[in-house]
Symmetry: C2
Subunit: 136 residues, 2 copies
């Protein structure tokens, strides 16, 4: 793909060139949030081609680790994610997209608007073997 | 650690037991957002101990992949992340924490409030070899 090769730490962190750090599997992490509410919708992965297609099209493409396949979000469900803004983090191994969701507004394969529909209690002696709380 | 073993897909996705899916390196992905603004502050990782400590203390602990060490966020910088709410995603391989940041409100090791301080242009023929735009 057409991304710049990795540079020095200073170039990666303070430069204007996109130099993604793909992991051993060739992936960067992508966080998608709802552009209107700020809610985190999902965490997924992009390979170089998914990242390039997202940049060029303004719609989210991912790489499915379980299916080992490129994946245009919403291709079958209609839950297309139109990118309002995309950002990259300091070491360029993660991207954040703020999106508007198409179709009925869903995101999660369970049918919910967000994949993060259960709360983990924290603090005051909360335990790992607690009961999660559903939020929707 | 004291987490439940992985169950069936239905138990993982629709159950009330916390059954984290740690990857081959023993990690789950964690997205931290600012509880007030919704801005994504950072993407990092937690091993079982970091996750358990975050749950019990209500403050963010991570596992540094580069240093291969448990890491209490803000230990030296003062940028402690107090967890307002923690959630887990459908397949339980990622968590989302909404946090209030201590100290001077920073998060990124570069000194910025968020690690996501550069915008990637998308759509309308945007290119992988573009110039990133700084937002702060």
């Amino acid at each position: 793909m057409q991304f710049a090769p990795r540079g020095t730490v200073r170039e990666v962190e303070e430069g204007r060139a996109l130099m993604p750090k793909f992991d051993a599997d060739g992936l960067v992490t992508c966080v998608a949030t709802d552009a209107a509410t700020g809610e985190v919708l999902m965490v997924a992965h992009m390979n170089a081609e998914a990242l390039a297609r997202t940049i060029a099209s303004g719609e989210a493409w991912y790489f499915s680790r379980s299916r080992q396949a490129l994946w245009r979000k919403g291709e079958t469900s209609g839950h297309v994610q139109r990118v309002v803004e995309m950002r990259v983090d300091c070491d360029q191994d993660a991207v954040w997209i703020r999106v508007r969701v198409g179709g009925d507004g869903g995101c999660c394969h369970t049918g919910r608007a967000s994949c993060f529909y259960r709360v983990i209690e924290t603090g005051a002696g909360a335990r790992p073997d607690q009961q999660l709380r559903f939020v929707e």
